[in-house]
């Protein structure tokens, strides 16, 4: 039996043990019966519900697929444009982050207002997909081997030829990493959208209707089924990506670090100028949208109204106070969530180098956890972590780690063999390879991952606040929508987006410091 087979056998054994323990806890303990249903019960319930699974599942798959296609198409197009014109990327950075960092609790109700049918959840899925997929693709397009760029230039090829013949092909593994991020996120977005939008079909709707029925086996079954669909989406793009990565990484090491290539150039003044444009553009688009659609200002206040809400009139100081209080609760936890999420993503990605079989075994578990609708796991999370900071950070990690993990793992797989060979000849094992080669080589991916996590962490904590702790910005926004207090909602969204942008830029600043020494 080869080493790999033996390791796989050990993992199968491990999985069986875990299942057995789960079965025992889920059927023999009172709390298990109530909130941690045994696999057998989940399966039995799912079998009884099979017709519903079919109806709801079909809707979710359709919504997620359409959202995936739209989101990825937009991501690819945007990445292409941003690669061709880094200035454009700088200018649109604010819009990009805003699209990504917009809390679902805020977007959901708005989408439901302006779109009919399956569109709200489809658009939510596309929105969740867009930014991570765009980031991954852009990273791949940018990290072109300078030797190949020289070759194209020497034959008179311009940016178009370079794009066509080198960048596209070189970015394929990253594109597939983007797809791998996007597929589960599309499912998550669809489920989240269905959960809120009042649609009748889809796992989100199924979940919502199952939730008050006190039937944890059904709840977990729905969650696991949604996770499996997400996992299938992930796996779909994993196999071709593996093959692609092998044929894409250069045989020899380029003299230029790939991360150094992707770091945007330009003087400080230019960067500041574009940062201002980036800041202004979302406001401009916001104003345009509000003005053109002529929506009631009660629901869609423009930028001016929102700023006035915060700084003028009787309610301003009360509003600022409420927001300040909420932020004071949310921000520290979000910072923790960011670090914890990144750390978890890093550990998981590192395991894919250090203990590939273990990583293969952990991956589905982590994916299921990430895609398990949070509402379904609230009771068990509460049981294990309570309702304090730990629980919030845990929920944030669940929400956050996945895109970061995929990007990191992608970075690790593009390391040219020549570099790993060097470590091997000096007796270095996987750990040294990770520390001395894989991490520095894919430092660009590491920072890209951190930039993704920064806005996500805030969102994750807000979800936890809404479901678990009833504090902070997440709770404030949730409560405000009941009171139709859209001024507060937009103000809160605005502030959370500004914070996300700031975090994103801070990561970029650190990257520039680290990469260009």
């Amino acid at each position: 039996m080869s080493g790999a087979t033996r390791e796989n056998a050990r993992i199968v054994f491990g999985v069986l043990v875990v299942l057995a323990i789960w079965e025992f806890l889920g059927s023999q303990t009172s709390w298990g019966v109530a909130m941690f249903p045994a696999p057998s019960r989940i399966l039995a319930q799912a079998f009884a519900d099979r017709e519903l699974y079919w109806l709801h599942g079909l809707a979710t798959v359709r919504t997620a697929t359409i959202g995936f296609v739209f989101g990825c198409a937009a991501a690819m197009l945007a990445a292409l444009l941003f690669c061709l014109s880094p200035s454009l990327e700088l200018a649109f950075r604010g819009v990009n982050i805003a699209l990504f960092a917009m809390p679902a609790i805020v977007v959901g109700p708005l989408l439901v207002l302006f779109f009919n049918g399956d569109w709200p959840q489809t658009i939510l899925a596309a929105l969740m997909v867009y930014f991570p997929a765009m980031s991954a693709t852009l990273l791949g397009l940018r990290q072109v081997d300078p030797r190949l760029a020289d070759l194209v230039a020497a034959y008179g090829g311009g940016e178009t030829k370079l794009m066509l013949h080198v960048r596209f092909r070189g970015a394929l593994p990253s594109l597939f990493a983007g797809f791998r991020v996007a597929a589960p996120l599309a499912v998550l977005g669809a489920v989240l959208g269905e959960f809120g939008s009042g649609t009748r079909w889809g796992f989100g709707a199924f979940l919502l209707s199952a939730l008050p029925q006190g039937n944890p086996a059904r709840l977990w079954g729905i969650g696991l089924a949604a996770s499996l669909i997400a996992l299938a989406g992930y796996a779909l793009f994993l196999l071709p990506a593996r093959r692609l990565a092998a044929s894409t990484s250069a045989v020899t090491l380029s003299a230029v670090s790939p991360a150094a290539i992707a770091v945007s150039s330009g003087g400080r003044l230019r960067r500041i100028a574009f940062a201002l444009v980036a800041l202004a553009l979302p406001f401009l688009l916001w104003w345009l949208m509000v003005t053109l659609t002529k929506v009631s200002p009660i629901i869609a206040p423009g930028p001016v109204q929102t700023i006035l809400f915060l700084f003028e009139g009787r309610q301003a100081s009360a509003a600022r106070h409420a927001l300040g209080l909420a932020l004071g609760q949310t921000l520290p936890v979000a910072a923790l969530g960011l670090l914890a999420g990144l750390a978890f993503a890093f550990v998981l990605a590192a395991l894919s180098l250090l203990a590939p079989a273990l990583a293969r075994a952990l991956m589905p578990v982590a994916m299921v956890a990430q895609n398990m609708p949070l509402v379904a796991v609230v009771p068990i999370v509460t049981l294990v972590f309570g309702r304090g900071v730990t629980a919030s950070v845990f929920m944030a990690v669940l929400v956050v780690f996945f895109p970061a993990y995929v990007l990191l793992q992608q970075g690790f797989t593009t390391v040219p063999r020549a570099a790993s060979d060097l470590v091997a000849t000096y007796g270095g094992g996987r750990l040294k390879n990770l520390v001395f080669v894989a991490v520095p080589y894919s430092i660009g991916h590491l920072f890209a991952a951190a930039r993704l996590v920064a806005p996500q962490a805030l969102l994750g904590v807000m979800v936890a606040e809404w479901l678990l702790t009833g504090t902070g910005l997440g709770n404030l926004l949730n409560v405000s929508r009941g009171g139709l207090d859209y001024d507060m909602i937009w103000a809160g969204a605005l502030i959370s987006i500004l914070i996300s942008v700031a975090a994103y830029e801070a990561v970029g600043l650190i990257e520039r410091k680290v990469v260009r020494r």
Binding site: A34, G198, P379, W466, N478
Partner: protein
Amino acid sequence: AGTPLNFQSIWINDPEFSGYFIALDKGYYTAEGLKVNYIPGGPDVIPQASLLTGKADIALTSLIETASAVSEKGAPFKIVGAQFQKSPDSVISLEATGIKSIKDLVGKTVACPPLSLGTFKVLLGLNGVAEDQVKIVPYAFDPTPLATGQVDAVIDFMTSLPFIVEETSGKKASFILFYDSGMPFGQDFVTVTEDTLKNRRKDVVAFLRASRKGWNDDFADPLKYTKEFENSWYKGNGYTPGAAEYHSKIQIPLMQNPKGVFTIDDESIEKNIASLEKIGVKANKDLFDTSLLAEL
């Protein structure tokens, strides 16, 4: 009238809306010349907002949100009827916990939806309980914490939860209506904008009339429709037949009024306004327009 009447519901399809389903299925709306387009609700669906964007012409809303939108944001809403005379909002607990009145919540943990938090706190105050005497945690529609004893009580509609908790935990559950504890509110108020009221008054009246017919059918034989809708309107909504039956029956007394379902009169308006005042929401009688009911 060829223009459809978009009707925004307040929650996902369940027995809470049987009357409308009956009216739809039996063609009561069509008979009135209406083309009603039923839009289900959900956690992200804010019916008042649907009215404001024009997505809906008529909506079921909660009073607190509607009233505060009118008084604080100047929203042009009018309430033309109330589906529930008494709101099903309740404190629900296991009987064994011994919570018989709001006072008994002292020292207990209560799961409360963030949206109801303000109301609940006032309710505590009205019953002489200080806020910090009760531990309040967020509630997200899941009865598991109650069934497992993670919390002592939850704030939710009593229309299905007590049944479900009894089924799953095997223990008797009980509820205390907010209505009966100093907070008399109605629920699922039929709401329109002033524009709609002006331009489509006839349609709104017709809607109320047809809907009332539907509800009357339901009151006459709730179980018949529960069965009937199991594979149509309710399909996929997670209810067991038992829970649906329980829901259908228990809600009827909360809706019925000698003058017919949807009735609002001076007395109920006063009660509702008084309750609003208790939680600090200003409202006056103009919020309600009872003249349409008079035309039914």
